[in-house]
């Protein structure tokens, strides 16, 4: 059973890779299978790990107000019927409202205020040159980067110079992201190669 499974997995892997040569029916087959299998997987997982414990168990335990959740949920599904699909917007509204309400304060605090709090730092650290330079870079980088995203003033003169500095900082960070993304993609490929050459063909230990 295990051997058959490994062969299936290997063939599917090669099927996806075949796209690199050319789009072909074998790839299309693997892709469609992927779409179906992952949808099925999500369907089953949400059933056993959300519906049963969160909805069914609560109703069985006599907390009947949870029926409201079911009602809103079913309203969501009504989108499939075009005529009364509009009613799904009620449940969508609840989802949108929850995220908007939570995001409003959380992003302001964690991505805004807390980051500013830690950017208010001393520009001179006694006896520690590298930390001094580091702190200076942090403050100037954050400041000039924000200047670049300030839209109420034309980028001219000293302000324009700061914005220019800001864009250089941004580019440096994009370069870093670039390097890290390459790293990620290569790791994934290593994983697949290890499977094909090791687990499947047994060429490497």
């Amino acid at each position: 059973m295990e051997t058959i499974g490994i062969w299936i997995a290997a063939l599917l892997t090669l099927g996806i890779f075949s796209f690199l040569y050319k789009d072909n029916p074998f790839y299309k087959f693997c892709e469609s299978l992927f779409v179906g299998v992952s949808a099925g997987y999500w369907f089953v997982t949400t059933f056993w790990q959300v519906f049963m414990p969160k909805l069914a168990d609560n109703l069985v335990a006599g907390r009947f107000y949870y029926i409201i959740g079911a009602i809103f949920g079913v309203m969501m599904l009504l989108r499939l019927i075009p005529k009364i699909g509009w009613i799904s917007r009620w449940s969508l509204a609840l989802v949108v409202g929850t995220t908007a309400g939570l995001y409003f304060t959380r992003y302001l605090v964690s991505n805004g205020m807390v980051q500013v709090q830690y950017t208010i730092i001393s520009l001179y650290v006694k006896g520690n040159l590298s930390q001094t330079i580091g702190n200076l870079v942090i403050v100037i980088g954050t400041f000039s980067g924000l200047i670049y995203f300030f839209f109420s003033k034309e980028h001219k003169g000293a302000f324009g110079g700061l914005a220019k500095l800001g864009i250089w900082f941004l580019m440096l960070s994009f370069g870093a992201s670039f390097g890290y993304t390459v790293m990620s993609r290569m790791s994934l490929l290593i994983g697949r190669m290890d499977f094909l050459l090791g687990t499947w063909l047994g060429l490497i230990r």
Partner: protein, 385 residues
């Protein structure tokens, strides 16, 4: 009498030697156990604090060291105590999260040794209660209020027809060149609004920018094509282009087939667009909206066929690939600013201005706060805690 004192001494000696060899003496108890309502919460919680056992401070012999603390609770000062929970050595605080509001509770802290333990004196009683205002968050409230009010204020200003200034955005200047070049070469222009649906702010911004690009293609009589990966995006793009063409006085040039739906699937869509690029060799490619991993594949192919590429997204992870492979890139918020700049939509303009107020506050405190701290004047960072 003398004999008795000898026996007494003997017993004492026995004891002390036992202590020296076995070290089973319990650790010294912790002191000053205090309990009070946990502030700024919805009730149901009491904060218990204490001073560490002397055997939990500094270098104590491993055998005598405190291994942790157990917190005990009772509803009567002298009654039965139940164990609430355990915390690690070195801690001086514990939150009882199982308290009922309004019930007085007494607490004891038990310092745990290897085999034995010692208990502190009970605390004074404390009751949990709910507070109306979380005072720790007063500055957050203030800032949220300022930003929110300025957004609302500027939206109203824009609505009442006041001209709000927005700086020039570099990539947008290139739109005209790109469209002109496409007309000269007689090749197509492809506009890709990303793979997300209309619920994404980035897609909406992308579609807004499409309206302006379409105005230019109408003026120059260039050929525009928009493959989409969502049916809803297709509908919106059609409406946007139709409107742009009739505004430019060329409704005759508009044709529904300029916008078409390919597939919802990420890589399926990418493969299809890839094929279009290679076959049609467009003169210009616009990539504006929310992009994921496909950004790289699209930008690479567009570059390979020699198109001028103008990209824009607020996905930080995809920006590097756009910057490296495209001629112009709208970075992050520039995408939203561009759509506000082009559409002059009051709610977009107003929000952008309101956000600038927030940015101004942050910029001000970063510089002033850091300078104050450098010269040892005052630490302003508490304002953002």
């Amino acid at each position: 009498m003398v004999r008795f004192s000898f026996i007494f001494l003997f017993i004492l000696l026995l004891f002390s030697s036992a202590i020296g060899q076995e070290a089973t003496l319990p650790p010294a108890p912790s002191t000053d156990v205090m309990a009070k309502d946990t502030p700024n919460d919805a009730g149901g919680s009491i904060t218990i604090s204490w001073k560490k056992s002397p055997d939990d401070i500094g270098t104590v012999r491993e055998e005598n060291k405190v291994k942790g603390y157990e917190i005990l609770r009772s509803t009567e000062g002298k009654g039965e105590y139940e164990v609430l929970g355990k915390t690690t050595a070195g801690s001086e605080i514990y939150f009882d999260t199982h308290a009922h509001n309004g019930v007085p509770y007494y607490y004891k802290v038990r310092a745990l040794g290897i085999q034995s333990f010692s208990e502190s004196l009970p605390s004074a009683p404390a009751k949990a209660k709910a507070q109306w205002i979380d005072w720790r968050r007063k500055y957050t409230f203030l800032l949220a209020l300022i930003v929110a009010l300025s957004i609302v204020y500027f939206i109203n200003q824009a609505k009442s027809g006041k001209q709000l200034f927005i700086r020039k955005i570099a990539g947008l200047e290139a739109v005209e060149d790109a469209v002109g070049r496409a007309t000269e070469m007689g090749r197509k222009i492809f506009y890709i609004p990303g793979i997300s649906d209309m619920d994404s702010m980035q897609t909406i911004a992308g579609v807004t920018i499409l309206g302006q690009v379409a105005k230019k293609t109408a003026e120059y009589e260039a050929k525009l094509e928009v493959p989409t990966s969502r049916s809803l995006v297709m509908v919106s793009c059609r409406e946007t282009i139709k409107e742009a063409y009739s505004n430019a006085g060329r409704p005759d040039l508009y044709n529904e087939d300029m916008v078409y739906y390919l597939t919802d699937d990420q890589f399926g869509y990418t493969a299809a667009v890839d094929g279009l690029f290679v076959r049609e060799k467009p003169a210009a490619v616009f990539l504006q909206g929310q992009f994921y991993a496909e950004s790289l594949i699209l930008a690479e192919t567009g570059n390979y066929v020699g198109a001028i590429q103008i990209a824009g997204t607020a996905q930080p992870a995809q920006l590097p690939f756009f910057v490296a492979a495209c001629d112009y890139t709208l970075i992050g918020e520039e995408l939203f600013a561009a759509s506000a700049y082009l559409s002059r939509d009051p709610k977009l303009l107003g929000s952008l201005k309101g956000q600038d107020v927030g940015k101004f506050i942050f910029l001000f405190f970063i510089i002033v706060g850091s300078l104050f701290l450098t010269f040892g004047i005052y630490d302003l960072s508490f304002l953002f805690r």
